[in-house]
């Protein structure tokens, strides 16, 4: 018996393994894509209506983020898991319990369906891990050459559980600055993957959902005055943003040695001449806490995967005219920790 493969010439029924423009047309192909792939991965997806109705009785947090990372697949994650973690984390940073996500895919004609499946499966796992649901979505297809394979947007809604929402204005002089775990893994993993630099042991992105860590702080009676997730620009960007965001800006002083960085990450950073303080993470956050509660906060965070190296890294020393982040140098002088200017480049000199 020969392998008999009937292929119908009508586009909608063609047995393709790539996204075609018809997938974005809203017709049969789109329906099949949603039912066979998306609905299976996201059981709570409300496919009957345009939007997702959610019960709303108290302060809600709502956020959106788009993901265009290159490469799409990197050690420790992919654009899919990143898109879930990113939005979940933004909600958590507002002291909210993340509840529902929407997802919008912009797919390029020719993008491999099996790659999309991998990404969607990865999102499904991330969603389960974070305890959220993807309830609504959208799919568009663009012509070949007009998209970088795949772009994803996720929006999220959560219920603010914090009695008072964290905010830069709630920071006091004397508050301790805490990092939730070791940093710079995501950026170094991307740099490795993008430029073909392999090191052993390989660096895996720290992309992760941090909402459970955040909730555990509240459960332990610790109400962070302010939180910010560490993403592009690393710890230095996050600290500088907060220092300036407060109505009266502040001077934050950190100790460089206390910022936790894994050996292989530091080794590669040394080799390439980049500063781990400027390199992105994707599953780490900074919080400002009451000094008497700082140690307890660190111990609470250390119980979570990725949080093993959580540490106090500095404190708010004073108010300041324009916002300042400094660190003591090895020999005692105080130096400014700047927001990185532009793309972080390896150097040879």
């Amino acid at each position: 018996m020969t392998d008999f493969n009937l292929e119908c010439p009508v586009t909608g029924y063609a047995n393709t393994d790539v996204i075609t423009l018809s997938h974005g047309s809203g017709g049969e192909s789109t329906q099949r894509l949603i039912m066979n792939m998306f609905a299976k991965a996201f059981p709570n997806l409300q496919t009957d209506t345009d939007g997702a109705g959610i019960l709303c009785g108290r302060t809600m947090a709502f956020t959106t983020d788009s993901f265009v990372v290159d490469p799409i697949f990197f050690p420790g994650g992919d654009i899919g898991s990143l898109s879930v973690h990113g939005t979940v984390n933004d909600l958590a940073m507002m002291g909210a319990k993340p509840l529902y996500l929407s997802v919008a895919f912009i797919l390029e004609e020719g993008f491999l369906l099996k790659d999309l499946q991998t990404i969607v499966t990865s999102m499904s796992a991330a969603v389960k891990e974070a305890g959220v649901s993807i309830v609504t979505g959208d799919t568009k297809v663009v012509e070949k050459g007009h998209g970088h394979g795949i772009y994803i947007n996720t929006s999220g809604i959560g219920m603010v559980l914090a009695p008072v929402a964290p905010n830069p204005d709630r920071i006091h002089v004397g508050d301790k600055v805490i990092i939730s775990g070791d940093v710079a893994r995501h950026g170094m993993a991307i740099m490795s993957a993008r430029n073909g630099i392999e090191i052993d042991p390989p660096i895996f992105s720290d992309s992760a959902s941090i909402n459970r860590s955040v909730m555990s702080l509240y459960d332990a009676g610790i109400h962070p005055y302010c939180m910010r997730d560490v993403t592009r620009g690393g710890v230095s960007a996050a600290l500088n943003e907060i220092a300036r965001a407060r109505s009266t800006p502040i001077h934050i002083r950190i100790s460089e040695e206390s910022v936790p960085v894994e050996d292989n990450v530091r080794g590669l950073a040394e080799l390439l001449g980049v500063d781990p303080l400027h390199i992105a993470s994707e599953g780490r956050f900074i919080l400002f806490a009451e000094p008497t509660l700082a140690k307890k906060a660190v111990n609470t965070l250390r119980k979570f995967p990725g949080g093993e190296k959580a540490a106090i890294i500095g404190e708010v020393v004073a108010e300041h005219t324009s916002g300042l982040v400094t660190a003591k140098s090895l020999l005692g002088s105080e130096k400014i920790i700047y927001m990185p200017a532009g793309e972080i480049l390896p150097r040879i000199c």
Binding site: E270, S333, I336, C349
Partner: protein
């Protein structure tokens, strides 16, 4: 990290600083020695270390640092960058470069902008990688932007060696490599030069050895001490320099002898001299310095990108800024340039010394002390 941690140890560093302080007290006993003592560190990496680890404030004010011209990015003429950009835009070319050069603006644009417009510009960690790219892409022409001092000239020579071994025909380099001793001579021979001692670049000397500096100590009578880049290594070099000044000596001293041999690395030198010869080079901010660069020897010009693309003319009207040159030669501090921190900052760099992370201006900008505005 071994050989890093020990030489970054705070207690050891403080020990050396203590010794430096004692030496300065002894120097002060000698009315013939003018204070402050001005030491010039050659290399941008040394400047970085001095500022990053706070060496400049940990030392008494009787010691001042003058920052030398050791930033190959900073000294690459704009015309060379413009040529690089033109080459990068040629059809079928894969243009490779180290990270430092990607942000430096030419007359109109930088590498990032050219890449956004479609040029195939790639970062490589090593020039050897560029040869491998050439080997894997026989239908393309691969060009490597060969900037650097003697240190970097050595892996560039290794790249040419590999290209020959692999019989790679589609690889060439845009040469912009420079040498330290001629530039140092230009600085020391200047009448206005106030340098009392030189901290020579340890990695340059790892390749080339220390003998090239002998004629300079003889002629100018100031100590030249070779140092490493970790804070304890630099402090050790400062101490050795001050001790020589105290004792009225002026010799070439190797304070990095666990790495640097007097003769340097003979294998590296042999390869460098096989492929390259000394040529005259124009240094941005300084001007033409005879024999201050490396160029491909005649028999290896098939590796020369300028030969391969002879018809490219990228000469544009240069925008002079005299302050870059003054900072490069140590006559002016970055903070004394009127554009520093205003028109020329890390976010909007104008001069190459601000763009390059090894430039004195970038180092000053990033590490300027809180509340101190010189």
């Amino acid at each position: 990290m071994k050989y890093v941690t020990e030489f970054r140890d705070k207690e050891v560093a403080k020990g050396v600083i203590g010794e430096i302080q004692r030496t300065i007290l002894e120097i002060k006993q000698n009315p013939n020695i003018k204070l402050p003592i001005r030491l010039m560190e050659i290399c941008g990496g040394q400047t970085h270390s001095i500022l990053q680890y706070g060496i400049h404030t940990a030392l008494p004010s009787d010691v001042e640092f003058i920052h030398g011209p050791g930033c190959p990015v900073c000294v690459t003429p704009i015309s060379t960058i413009d040529l690089a950009l033109e080459l990068a835009k040629q059809p079928n070319v894969i243009f490779t470069s180290v990270g430092d050069m990607l942000r430096v603006p030419g007359s109109d644009e930088n590498m990032f902008e050219a890449r956004a417009k479609g040029a195939d510009i790639r970062w490589v960690y090593s020039p050897i990688e560029a040869v491998e790219i050439a080997n894997e892409n026989p239908s393309k022409e691969i060009i490597f932007f060969a900037i650097g001092f003697e240190t970097t000239t050595s892996p560039i020579a290794a790249a040419i060696y590999l290209a020959e071994k692999l019989k790679v025909k589609n690889f060439s380099i845009l040469t912009a490599m420079v040498r330290v001793p001629p530039a140092l001579e230009v600085i020391l021979s200047d009448e206005e030069c106030e340098v009392d001692g030189v901290l020579a670049a340890g990695h340059v000397c790892t390749v080339m050895g220390s003998e090239e500096y002998e004629p300079l100590v003889e002629k100018y009578g100031i100590p030249i001490v070779i140092t490493g880049f970790q804070p304890v290594e630099i402090l050790g070099g400062v101490l050795a320099c001050l001790q020589q000044i105290r004792d009225g000596r002026a010799v070439v001293e190797n304070a990095y002898d666990w790495v640097v041999e007097k003769e340097g690395n003979p294998f590296a030198q042999e390869l460098i001299h096989t492929y390259f010869e000394f040529i005259d080079r124009t240094w941005r901010g300084i001007g033409n310095i005879p024999h201050s660069g490396f160029g491909l020897r005649k028999e290896y010009r098939h590796f020369d990108a300028e030969e391969k693309w002879k018809n490219i003319n990228a000469v544009k009207e240069p925008k002079p800024n005299k302050y870059c040159g003054l900072v490069l030669t140590g006559k002016t501090k970055p903070t004394q340039c009127p554009f520093f921190g205003k028109e020329c900052s890390q976010e909007h760099p104008i001069g190459a010394l601000m763009v390059s992370s090894e430039g004195a201006c970038a180092a000053y900008y990033l590490y300027k002390d809180v509340g101190v505005n010189e």
